[in-house]
Symmetry: C2
Subunit: 300 residues, 2 copies
Amino acid sequence: MLKILISLVFVQAFAAQEKLISADLLKNSKAKDWRRIEQENLLYFKLPEGMVLIELAPFIARAHVARVKSLAREKFWDGLVIARVQDGYVVQWMDPKADKSDRKKFTGMNEALPPEFEAPQEFIKEEFTPLKDKDTYADQTGFIGGFAAGQDDKEKMAWLLHCYGAVGVGRDNAPKSGNGTELYAVIGGNPRPLDRNVAIIGKVVKGMEFLASLPRGHGEMGFYDKEQDEKPIKIPSIRLGTDVPEDERVVLEMLRTDTPLFKKWIEARRNREEEWFVRKAGKIDACNLSVPVRDAKEKK
Amino acid sequence: MLKILISLVFVQAFAAQEKLISADLLKNSKAKDWRRIEQENLLYFKLPEGMVLIELAPFIARAHVARVKSLAREKFWDGLVIARVQDGYVVQWMDPKADKSDRKKFTGMNEALPPEFEAPQEFIKEEFTPLKDKDTYADQTGFIGGFAAGQDDKEKMAWLLHCYGAVGVGRDNAPKSGNGTELYAVIGGNPRPLDRNVAIIGKVVKGMEFLASLPRGHGEMGFYDKEQDEKPIKIPSIRLGTDVPEDERVVLEMLRTDTPLFKKWIEARRNREEEWFVRKAGKIDACNLSVPVRDAKEKK
């Protein structure tokens, strides 16, 4: 018995000093550490250069996500354009000549969307996995269902962060002016001052390079300009996964962010044990904490 | 006299409530609020798509900057390649087949460069303009000579930050293994965990889009792969401004970061007064605080 106890003590002492290396954690992960990305939350954004896949996050901007799904089902964006590519900031796609009468044929377009830039914490069922390090903008940051999120202590609200790859819904000056037809993706930096000002609906989980390497627009704010730019790039199609033929679907898994393994993942990223690092940061901010995505091993 | 005093009080009260808007600050800026970017610190990195201009920051990684200048003067990179483009991270250019005997013809290549990942604060003559908001990684952040920088309270060191557009010198695992021949630029996110691990030598001040929109490599870590990628992009030339014919020089000015105007600029970016913002962050991190660059009004 004593022997077993001693061994246990040794095992624990060893575990405390265990060097957590990201690559090893992934290699030793189990199937239960991953979650399937549901086709009903996956947007297939086809570009001439390749396919961009966006996972929708329905737990904060619910009405926005519902609207975007319905617009995708009705093929709203097919044949529209990438209207804006501002270096170090965002790519935006929309109908630059939208007139309201034409839009009215799409479901729900007469109802203004609520300003879902954040949501009360109590309304979110998904677990919030906190980070222990301080953040410039939020009282608390962490992850909800795979997405980088912030929380405040006083107002008890939660929101998604403007990290590289985040996808949101553009709006005019009025908070209630976003109708889901103008979408943008962050292609540089992590423009966190936008947090709580716009509805984030998801993030790019594959094909980010096809958005980030688009030619920049030379008009104001990176809009394509008739005189200075080539013709804006036309969008062949945007579809919801459930409308994509089964044999063309991409089946992906994301590392779950509510597991013991993810807590180790956080530590591995806070202190990079790889030999190259001469100074471990000992800290991590949510935008630098990548959540791995992989092709599903079993497609069904 | 009383009248004047009262006016002064009014003026001050008004000033305290003044809405600081970035665009107005720039419009009303004076010539003395800007500094000329010196040609001896400006790298002209020619790519087939366009010219990338990098301002070198000689006040931290002194030996690295001197080496890079000397390599540019000796045309080290001409005809070499972009070897790596990793989405959301870095572009790297170098000699992928470098062999030491061939490199020895370049000045100084027998001397290992010191690990100038940071420098003692007391050795830096340039003013440090601090930000008041907390940062995940550094005790203190701010700006030195136009560059986003960090400081620590205990070791009294200063370093440049890995923000979008930062340019550094690649190295192997040994801290003293960077020789100035492999350079990288940050093209996504703000990979701050790299801070104090690599020598940052400057930042892109113009033409960032030509680096950020390069096709991504499909090998490990974004290296171009013989099987999966087109041929790596060849570099026509990299030159120091002083070696560029006068009529081909680009004359730029950067907003000074050690002025009363810059303090207002910081406030304008902490609290965006533009009508679009429904929630002002009330905070700013150094990587989100862009330092404006403009074409010089007088070229001489």
